[in-house]
Amino acid sequence: MKALEGKVALITGAGGGIGTAAALAFARGGARLHLLDAEEEGADRAAAAVREVGGEASTAVADVSDHAAVADAVGAVVEAHGRLDCAFNNAGISGPLREFLDYPDEDMQRVLSVNLVGVWNCMQEELRAMVGAGAGAIVNSSSGLGVVASPSMSAYVASKHAVMGLTQAAALEYASKGVRVNAVLPGVIDTAMPARLTEDSPDTRRLMLAAHPMGRLGKAEEVAAAAVWLCSDAASFVTGHGMAIDGGYLSQ
């Protein structure tokens, strides 16, 4: 039996590297998918990839920082499938690389809106559906930088620490109601996000690589595999946990 056979799953930020890899991994695990992205093209591309491997995916365009849009999207899944079993709240942005004293207010606001308020919005709507059914599993994207810090990413670091705290808070409140809430803590994953962030700074790229004891960056599929496992019934006693997928980054 597949890990997510018969389950209905929602993935946000589905057009990004990790999001698309997760969509494929959830589909291969047997889940029917509803894919969210702020950009229609991203959501469509991910859905097409899912269909190519024989999976089933519907899409919605929503900026996760817009609570009403998130409520509509979650409402649509529940209406279409009658249920929501799993959610991977993966949408996030890095913000610019900028020292704290020079960090623009509007960038800080935007990073917190997407990374933290976005997860808050999604979880509120998802939990409403799951608690009603008495079962469900949520995985939030925190980061290795949700546990430690790195220079010039203060807003990102703050948002990801907050996601970890929010994950544990929600896990506690709903543990006895059949819903598990966990987070993934990826190291730097080889996707467009770090590539964009370091395109003008080969030094930063080199440091990123050196920060991972395994001597390489992670693959989107490796984060996706952890999200699938945390959503599966195999993880039935795991809740409130931040799972590092980081090549040893946090062990240093």
Binding site: Q168, L172, E222, A225, A226, T239, M243, A244, S251
Partner: protein
């Protein structure tokens, strides 16, 4: 994967170790089952064989480094390699305050819970490096992350296991050998039942007090811990190393 994997488990005669041995076998591995308890170990082997799996028992006291060395050598002799190892042998000891704790008990528990894992790593790592990779999971505990009254040696040793796991993971990260830990919360094993029985008063009251503080509202099952062990060893966890995976129903989130 057509080629059979090889797993070794210490403390495999009951509880979590028995469950992980069975889970490894179901994942297609030949399993070297070891325990100080011969009867328990034989029972685990029997269960694996009944399910059509392949397993062999070896009596091992992990506090004896020669035993551990022989165990690793025997696994390689029998099956040619060690892909997955679950260093699980351990014991909580009897509840006792620090001022009443005997030095002998302290040393015994540190040797069993911490030095035992260290000995396993010492012999498994060269084998895994030589064969080009492998995955090891050490059994720590939620009490490897936080403290608890009455179990000072266990708490210290399990914190040690978490630290040792990270140190070893760093040393092996570029050699294809991943080393992680699991931190089980209160799990329904024979050892936990004994622990509850040794506390003052009614064991059922002690259990209820635990469950009351457990956010998920129940104890864990050994099979739930085993799932985490097998996942950490699987190729799906290829970028996971040095990680203490907490399987505790939310206990540590409080």
């Amino acid at each position: 994967m057509s080629e059979r994997r090889v797993a070794m488990v210490t403390g495999a005669g009951s509880g979590i170790g028995r469950a992980s041995s069975l889970a490894f076998a179901r994942a297609g591995a030949a399993v070297i089952v070891s325990d100080i308890d011969e009867e328990g170990g034989a029972g685990t082997v029997e269960q694996i064989q009944e399910e059509g799996g392949k397993a062999a028992f070896m009596r091992v006291d992990v506090t004896e480094e020669d035993d551990v060395r022989d165990l690793v050598a025997r696994a390689v002799e029998l099956y040619g390699r060690i892909d997955w190892a679950h260093n699980n042998a351990g014991h909580g000891g009897s509840p006792q305050l620090i001022e009443d704790y005997s030095r002998a008990d302290w040393e015994r528990l540190l040797t069993l819970n911490l030095t035992g894992v260290w000995s396993c790593l010492r012999h498994q790592i060269p084998q895994m490096k030589a064969q080009g990779g492998g995955a090891i999971v050490n059994t720590a505990s939620t009490f490897g992350m936080v403290g608890v009254r009455g179990m000072c040696a266990y708490v210290a040793a399990k914190h040690g296991v978490v630290g040792l796991t990270k140190a070893a993971a760093l040393e092996c990260a570029e050699d294809g050998v991943r080393i992680n830990a699991i931190c089980p919360g209160a799990t329904r094993t024979p050892q936990l039942e004994t622990f509850f029985a040794e506390l003052e008063g009614d064991p059922r009251v002690a259990e209820e007090a635990y469950v009351e503080r457990e956010p998920i509202g129940r104890l864990g099952a050994p099979e739930e811990i085993a799932e985490a062990v097998v996942w950490l060893c699987s190729d799906a966890a290829s970028f996971v190393t040095g990680h203490p995976l907490v399987v505790d129903g939310g206990w540590l989130a409080q």
